[in-house]
């Protein structure tokens, strides 16, 4: 039995009057690939962004990699080094070259030797299949390439957990495949992955577990098989029929 690397207990969050997360209980085991889905505005991005404290929770307990995120002694920057994040809009640093984008955090945050970091970066770029763009700037490559660089940037920190926040939603359709291919490989590689996505094919293929959210609540948690074949709640059925018939 593997241990829970992410534990969320009774999480509540409000934006002013709006109740964004309602009593969320959510655990992720080491090496597990969890896909979070649900209609837009259901709180899935908020949930995933709480895991590295880009969003603050108002109530509840949040433990990542055995550290309580809201303990005063916890250094959040240390935790964040273990938790990588890939964003919908890539958020590459436009003033740095592709290579510098990947090496800046290992060199400045982890105090890695520059040469070592560059060697690792080149390996990672090869892994995401864009080694020949290392010295270009983010503005000079396509969206799919940007997202693959963003993944390489996250991998360069050698995280235990990778969070994907709708990584393919901002891409042109023909570029989605190349990003999903890279993600599928990562899923096989024993990373713990939490992914918010509308790509149901991806969820079915690599997901160990599907979490369905609506209106800030987790309504269903199941294996892909069960979830796609026998959704239990009405809202999940409605969501699936809408998303699969498009």
């Amino acid at each position: 039995m593997k241990k829970n690397i992410i534990q969320m207990k009774d999480i509540n969050k409000w934006y002013g009057e709006y109740h964004a997360l309602r009593n969320v209980n959510f655990n992720v085991k080491q090496g597990e690939v969890v896909v979070i889905c649900g209609p837009s505005g259901s709180g899935k991005s908020t949930l995933i962004r709480c895991i590295n404290r880009l969003e603050e929770i108002d109530e509840g307990k949040l433990i990542v990699d055995d550290q309580d995120l809201y303990d005063k002694k916890t250094n959040i920057n240390k935790v964040r080094q273990e938790v990588g994040m890939v964003f919908q809009h890539f958020n590459l640093f436009p003033h740095l070259s592709i290579l510098e984008n990947i090496t800046i955090a290992p060199v400045k945050v982890k105090k890695k030797n520059k040469q070592e970091a560059e060697d690792l970066a080149m390996k990672l770029l090869e892994r995401v299949k864009i080694p020949h763009h290392a010295h270009k700037y983010p503005s000079e490559i396509s969206g799919g390439q940007k997202q693959r660089v963003a993944i390489a940037r996250t991998l360069a920190m050698e995280p235990k957990i990778i969070l994907f926040d709708e990584p393919t939603s901002a891409l042109d359709p023909e570029m989605i495949g190349e990003v999903l291919d890279v993600m599928k490989e990562l899923a096989k590689d024993n990373y713990t992955i939490v992914c918010v996505t509308h790509e149901m094919g991806f969820a079915r293929e690599v997901g160990d577990r599907i979490v369905f959210m609506d209106a800030g609540e987790i309504l269903e948690e199941d294996t892909p098989e069960e979830f796609f074949n026998n959704p239990k709640t009405e809202r999940a059925q409605k969501f699936l029929s809408e998303i699969l018939h498009h």
């Binding site: 880009l54 964040r80 080094q81 436009p94 003033h95 996250t154």
Partner: protein, 237 residues
């Protein structure tokens, strides 16, 4: 009887003009350097989430930019004797070949306080113009707030603020003329001096106007070069 121009006064008083030009350049260069640093800190403070830092910075900005520069200079010059408070200024004055150390540094401090308040506003606007995703990406890589600001946000903000900050630098050069009211022998002072000695203010003013234009053009030119260096890679994002 018309007015007869006599441009030879310029040659006769070239010493005065050259000293004036040098003093204006000293004030401008040191002033730009210091007000850029202080202004950047104030601007970062203005954009800060910490209530007290942001209150202090907005207090700094509002105070110094809403009081006329000449009032600030007079206040500093007449209520403090800078060389008594900071004895090392005496040495710096000698090093910079300044005749009236107190007046020079009073004017300089006034210039820096005034301009850095404006630069602070510019920097704050630049920082706020950097998309929030940049901060989030940097934070999720485990950077601390200093690294996020210094490695990611500020370099991008700088690019955005170069044109407005150039304007503030030019304003500082122009405002350095106010130092003459404290008797600092800079360019505008030289104009007045030549006029009072020879009644050739028109000729002197023409020469000094051209010198100011050269100074401001040169500064714009340098800032354009810097702008071009920064635009590398930052286009169309």
């Amino acid at each position: 009887m018309g007015y007869e121009f006599d441009w030879s006064v310029l040659l006769e008083y070239k010493e005065l003009l050259i000293t004036g030009l040098l003093t204006t350049i000293k004030l401008s260069v040191i002033g730009i350097f210091l007000s850029f640093i202080i202004g950047s800190l104030v601007g970062i403070g203005r954009a800060s989430k910490n209530f007290w830092i942001s209150l202090f910075s907005s207090y700094y900005v509002e105070s110094f930019r809403n009081i006329p520069l000449i009032v600030q200079m007079f206040f500093i010059y007449f209520t403090f004797t800078l060389t008594d408070i900071f004895p090392f200024l005496e040495k710096w004055g000698e090093f910079l070949h300044i005749s009236d150390t107190n007046a020079f540094f009073s004017a300089l401090i006034g210039l820096v306080l005034y301009t850095s308040a404006y630069i602070g506003e510019v920097v704050k606007a630049g920082i706020n113009a950097v998309p929030n995703g940049q901060k989030e990406a940097a934070e999720s890589l485990g950077m601390n707030s200093f690294q996020v600001m210094w490695l990611i946000i500020y370099p991008q903000a700088i690019k955005i603020i170069i044109p407005p900050i150039t304007n503030q630098f030019l304003n500082l050069i122009k405002n350095s003329s106010l130092a003459m009211t404290l008797g600092v022998a800079e360019l505008t002072f030289a104009t007045q001096q030549i006029d009072s000695e020879t009644f050739r203010g028109f000729e002197a003013a023409t020469a000094v106007t051209i010198l100011y234009m050269i100074l401001t053009l040169f500064t714009s030119f340098i800032m354009n070069l810097i702008d071009m260096k920064f635009s590398k890679g930052v286009k169309n994002v």
